[in-house]
Amino acid sequence: MTMLKKLYTGAAVLALSTSAAVAQEVEVLHWWTSGGEAAALNVLREDLAGSGIGWSDMPVAGGGGSDAMTVLRARVTAGDPPTAVQMLGFAIQDWAAEGALANLDALAAEQGWNDVVPAALQAFSTYEGSWVAAPVNVHSTNWVWANTALMEELGIEQPGTWEEFVAAMQAAQDAGYTALAHGGQAWQEATVFDSMVMGVGGPEFYQAAFIDLDPEALGGAQMVEAFDRMTTLRGFVDDNFSGRDWNLASAMVFNGEALFQIMGDWAKGEFVNAGQTAGEEFQCFRVPGTEGTVTFNSDQFAMFNVDDEAEQASQLAMATAVLSPEFQIAFNVVKGSVPARTDIDPASFDACGQLGMAQLAEAGESGGLFGSMAHGHANPPSVQNAMYDVITAHFNGEYDSAVAAEEMVAAVELAQ
């Protein structure tokens, strides 16, 4: 492995020494190509342009970033990595372990990142104690999005417990609505499952099952119960859910066809785009049972090793810009997520955003902030996808809950 590392770095030096002759520029690999996201990213681009740094854009959309990661591997193997890459969770750790990422410690110390970024987030931004990535945002995934008008029509209060949640959905179904808008894609099912595991067993169980990968937790009674809850939810989903994109599920909620959607905070953008306002036409609340905890994922810009000094300088400039309050606000307001810094003034955010920020800070302090399994912040991709296989197979009726829990143990073992 070290041999390989040297090879790659060697090639990188070679490649970069030829390309650095071009003006100062950052090449950014990302998958934020939708209108809002790209516009937000443009804030970053203009910021850098102000300091004379060019922006070479390299968007690769699709597969929730997996296509971009494939491209990244090709680029690194070619010895020509992009300067900065949008990354999630464990990918940062994996690349840092390969020795491919630059050390940002000096900048972090200068700007006091340690004090403003929550510790649970830092776990992903640092490798062996050194900063290697600049966090952009924190998405929390255990949200329920609800149609206010429908709740009023059905006489539903915000549910506080699992039972109330089920009762509310039952009411909606009885009234002929789709109770739960859901898109049948593996990652969406896993997103829901995150909250079920957290709701059933709380932080300890979540830690044991998803982070420590303890076989007893994975195959235990609580896991079976979490799967049972998935079965329950399956009963509230319409027939046509398979393969549906999440934003179409969101549309079902804001169009008044469906009552709830369990989805990360990026769903908010859809509601806002549809001209709705948080707290008025639609509501957000934590998935019942997971209050006080936040399962999150965080987009970060990892900086790749470069030897050219000018290039390093532009990396540092980019990292600075990413963590600047202006960009954190501009980006996160659009994206629906909350800033990666806890010292940002919430005034520019809407109701759900402010709620999210407060809860994030709270969970950060109480130890209730956990990386989301569904979004690659709890375990490595091999394990994560092995879990996907089981969860989605169970949700599609291939396993009953007990078998699913057993399969979970087997699949995780095979993937490790």
Binding site: A11, L14, A15, T18, E27, V28, L29, W31, W32, T33, S34, G35, G36, E37, A38, A39, L41, N42, L44, R45, W55, S56, D57, M58, P59, V60, A61, G62, G63, G64, D67, T70, V71, R73, A74, R75, V76, T77, A78, G79, D80, P82, D245, N247, A251, W266, G269, E270, N273, K335, G336
Partner: protein
Amino acid sequence: MAMASSDNAVRSSNFTRALIYLVLILFALFYLLPFGIMLVNSLKPLEEITGGNMIALPQNWTIAPWLSAWSTAQIGVQPTGLRPYFINSIVMAVPAVAISTFVGALNGYVLTKWHFRGATWIFGLLLFSCFIPFQIVLIPMARILGILNISGTAYGLILVHVVYGIGFSTLYFRNYYAVFPTELVRAAQIDGAGFFQIFWRIMLPSSGPIIAVCCIWQFTNIWNDFLFGASFASGGSAPMTVALNNLVNSSTGVREYNVHFAGAIMAAGPTLLVYIVAGRYFVRGLMAGSVKG
């Protein structure tokens, strides 16, 4: 070899003929359906799409989605539309098609007209390369492009497409030249023409149909490639398919289906054009060799 041989001896009654036309038209509709949906919906405003029937004609015709997809849609951080990527694709596809076709022609010429011991084996080796799944070549290919120092450039992408195009282009030309009269080559040899003179003066001028087939095939494959384009082109030089994917597969935000469809048709434009314009040469070229196996 000419189309005139369609003077088929098979006769049929009027009823059968009506039935034949019916079947053919039904299939034509089946083939046209997906494209029709794309076309119809690319000319509708977004509200009509989200509310209405997918194959209903637009109530308010609009070309705004087309304009947007071409020049203002958000592909990356800047609203450039597909236009710059269109040019990238052409810059990449034209040389790649030309080179792979030319190399295939030379190979086919050598393999059929200058047969030597082991030539059949070499052809077998070349041919098997058509069947390699491209996913497995990504990592080692990236490494080699890095060593050659053309990673992330159009040259790199052209090289990749040429390399994996040679198998098919050689197959086409070999089969075509296999039935090309060897006596012509012999006559030219006696006339004093050398290896390359025979190729330029005798073989190539008679290779029209198969050049058409090979170019159509290569152009379609190279233009439509996504995997290599995404992996081996850096942002600014990304081909059309990568840009289209970025347009269509963006993760959040309102899905502007009409713009997506307009962009998709644009991305498909050149290959469609090639098939429609050169399609008749396709059957002719296939007849002239490649299906004779």
